[in-house]
Assembly symmetry: D2
Homo-oligomer: 340 residues x 4
């Protein structure tokens, strides 16, 4: 039984780790930290867990955690993980899966994009398993950078064309559920502001763009013609990414479909929609559903990907990464359908 | 042209007064106060007003307001109106329509229910025009207590049976939109908490119960067997009140329908639904739609009323009251349909 | 491995059985019938099941089903199950769990309430496991009547007071998600009609009332003073039941809380909310969350229950019943949290 | 008083014409046709109109209509208007504002895009007033083609750059409320399918693309590099258009802002958002709110426009067109704010 610690377990991604791990056959959560909630029952704070956990939130104590845990999930805001990561890695065998942004980018890119000095640069492995085969049981690294929600949906939408070197320009027009903004009430999450509305933001310069460029250019070296515009839609969970792609050559819908099916062959969490994907079909699950259509008039393709931002876009992918580096079956504890 | 001042114009009821008055043929907003927004254009804060107002929010200055205004709307939280009301009334001809709770109840009841000392008790007229015919051009009082949102919907649902002395017990099970809780983001208004959910609260002891008892017992002297349970539903605007009424004698649906049609004859803002009322049909409007069914098996009647909590439940009713006491047509500036 | 057949698997309850059984350790779906979808892959119709099922919908063939299956779930409309049930039971060892209304009521009550002749009256066991301890591995009956969604939420809200003989009158004011109305588009489910709205219906005479009376009067013999008013709220899944209960004696909130905790002791799927229950906390799960408050001024108690209408209110409870009559652990395949 | 006839008044755009015209100072609806609803009170079908109309739906009788009416609004599906238009225009002085697609495109383009023979080609004026100054009191044409909802939002988002000849490529990624699909319940409008979801459709080949190309290329001759992908979001009313524009030269946000402010100077219904526009701020109103940001890294600009699809995108614009061709003030009957 893998012993799990969750640092920052009172937020959405922490809660989601607790939800998903409550049914994992080979893992057990032994510690969950949350400063503000310390001393409270996990199931009094996250009432959906009533009956399923007898755990109590504790103050973060990294010495204790590194003794008790095999895997530590960091479910904290960016700028915070870097405070704890070196301490947890030091003199321990713990492996860390960091859901924050702290280790996803090269240090100089991180500092530029996030506007802060990196306090503890350490080599980490960026892990979207479907496009990073190095994430497996042989991996030596002990620090995994779990990708951002938007970059996961965007990368899965563009990867097969990128890997084939076919991208000329890409615009990711993404629509996200509001849990992506965290569980602190804000003007954006205020029901009368969001219901029956859509809130575009950071029209040309969202931080996740750097991750998208990193991943797409890794697959198609030299390609950086990527734009990204996010919108919050009146949805709690889910990201629909509409990728407007200009290709270097004219493709039919069948061409693109074949390319994607080949690329994702053997990747259980990527499935193809009958027509267009739906957030409902992946809700609460680790699946990514993909659909596409080539424009008969031009070199353009529209590719859609649908994920649950808290699962495939965060905590589910983190557990998928844990499964892979621990030598478990990739789907263990995650092989259940979306909640329509 | 009636000169209007709005104290507390940055909240929902203030905004709604501005929206509704932008089209009033006989009234003009000349002052809108809002401490936090002072100095900002009204239409920069409430962007739906762009093009329609050139007004700027100002700090509250009651001496200035009482000089400039004929009617002052108090759109402030309870406990705050009582600070300004005496100052505005003193040495002026201003009339005040207070949307707060400060003057709706007898002083001792107010102090008991709201748990605070009343700083400035003054006689006021409680005004749901459909059940308070004294609200007219002859009214001498200069302070109008505009009713609460829940009590408006509840009173309109029960008044005809109360006036006929037929009530034995009443349970108001009310479902409100979340704007009733104000425009400050909170756990209740946090989109992921409210969407796809319903939030019951104050199951037996909401403050508005005292107003309901006051109004129903005024119509049916001695009757106080009233219960009230509110719920927030995933809706921005509107209150659906389900009144579960036990009557002192057996009535058919037709009996009740006739009673209600007679009682509300000549009241333009009360209309009867074809089957059941709908929040959509009254959205943004000052109408109250009513529907009902008697239980064939018992002395029970279910009466439904639908209002927009910000209009008939607050700012629209306030303007209706203004029209009446100023000798204007009751419907002036308010005679437009709901937005389905 | 228990072999499962689902008759009528293209509707919401059929889909939900497929979802829930995809992870059941001791059961396997071997047949799923659906006339209109016959020949199509289950996962092409219910795309959330992509990757999880390789099953194809078939035309109903009861001879085949009774040979292949140990348990047959009837997920069909009322009036339809009675056509198939006798045929499936005859000369077979199959047990049937019927999610329709056909076998929930005494035959004469059924005929009265549903306005149709019962074609095949057969003794069945009505099964809300928390209040029907006879639903266990010793049960001889081969036909289980799975309760209606509203009656499940209502009965769980009132059962402890009924069992203690404390009920004087009960009004169930229920708020349901729209999946309760099925997956055929209708005026009620038309998004612009339901969003930002609430739709009361059958104010005094919904068919489920008979089931509620049956269950409450079974627990408190002779008590039939039950009223029921349903509303559709802008929610896909869930029923919040607000039970307005008049008791035969004055009780405090603590009295009621103790009574309920005792009554549901050892019932894993009933949990108590910290304050009020939430549809979010039970979404997609088989849990029922309960909260309550006694009115300090009177003999009234408000009890709230929250369930997912498709799970505890239908397919989850059906599987819970299957587990119990098959001698499995009650929670098998169902022990996972709600999706907030 | 202008006498108005509405053909097809039971659908959303007909209902919206009735709503908006109920307050128009210079126009009066004298006839409303609707086959299925003929003989019913307008306010029994559209209950939001209770108290405001005493009109009854009638069978279409064009001879009667052309005698009684000065202006006829065609609020019917495409392919239907062309049946009535020639008959109404013949031997009458009626002017027609056609909300259908029948007269928006050149005949050959119409036939190609809509896949049907045009039965009655007649010259018409396509009228988005902000970009078609020929729509004024001097206009001789008696047939006005009222634009489609998506093309209105898209054209207003791109027009200033097009008029300046600065477009290199444009992708309109549009998000619409579901009323755009009409008031017949369908799989798309089925609440559980749309709530908490987003439904992309016709990814590269929606019929409205032809209108967009027509309008943009009229402003920037020869420019046809336009793509369009629509999505239905869980919203009843509104279209947010995200225009991803590549320009022929590098522009700053201030450059673009100035260009747009100049272009729309004197156009009362176009307003600029403080940051990004919101569907809430234009809900129910005839306003279009616009926001924008230039990408500091490239020749790209993102422009957003928000409209109410049923008002500025249909019935409000139709009335605006009526005002203009009748020599009324453009804003008459339409000068009221959005309903937040």
């Amino acid at each position: 039984m893998i012993k799990i610690g969750i640092v920052g377990a009172s937020g959405y991604t922490g809660e989601e780790l607790l939800r998903l791990l409550s049914n994992h056959p080979s893992a057990e959560v032994v510690a969950a930290t949350a400063r503000a909630a310390a001393g409270k029952k996990v199931s009094s704070v996250h009432e959906n867990l009533k009956g399923l956990y007898d755990l109590t939130f504790e103050e973060p104590d990294y010495e204790k955690i590194k003794k008790e845990c095999d895997i530590v999930f960091m479910a904290v805001p960016h700028g915070t993980a870097m405070d704890a990561v070196p301490e947890i890695l030091k003199d321990s065998k713990c492996r860390i899966i960091d859901l924050s942004a702290d280790y996803r980018l090269k240090t100089n890119v991180f500092e530029d994009v996030y506007g802060m000095k990196h306090k503890a640069p350490i080599d980490a492995v960026y892990a979207i398993p479907e496009v990073h085969p190095e994430v497996n049981a042989d991996l030596k690294d002990r620090l995994i950078a779990n990708p951002g929600c938007f970059p996961t949906g965007a990368t899965l939408a563009a990867a097969p064309l990128a890997a084939a070197g076919l991208l000329k320009s890409v615009i990711f027009d993404s629509k996200t559920g509001v849990t992506g903004a965290g569980n602190t009430p804000s003007a954006t999450s205020h029901y009368p502001n969001l219901a029956e509305n859509i809130i575009p933001y950071k029209l040309t310069a969202h931080r996740h763009l750097a991750e998208m460029v990193q991943e797409v250019s890794r697959l198609q070296p030299g390609f950086e013609n990527v734009s990204f515009t996010p919108h919050v839609i009146p949805v709690s969970r889910g990201i629909m990414t509409t990728a407007h792609i200009e290709t270097t050559e004219k493709l039919t819908t069948a061409d693109v479909q074949n390319l994607y099916e080949d690329y994702y062959d053997g990747k259980p969490f990527v499935q193809f929609a009958e027509t267009v994907p739906s957030l409902a079909n992946v809700r609460g699950s680790n699946f990514c559903h993909i659909g596409m259509e080539a424009d008969a008039r031009s070199n353009r393709v529209v590719v859609l990907s649908a994920i649950d931002n808290l699962v495939k876009g965060a905590s589910g992918q983190a557990i998928q990464n844990m499964n892979l580096i621990c030598g478990l079956k990739e789907t263990e504890g995650l092989w259940f359908p979306g909640l329509i």
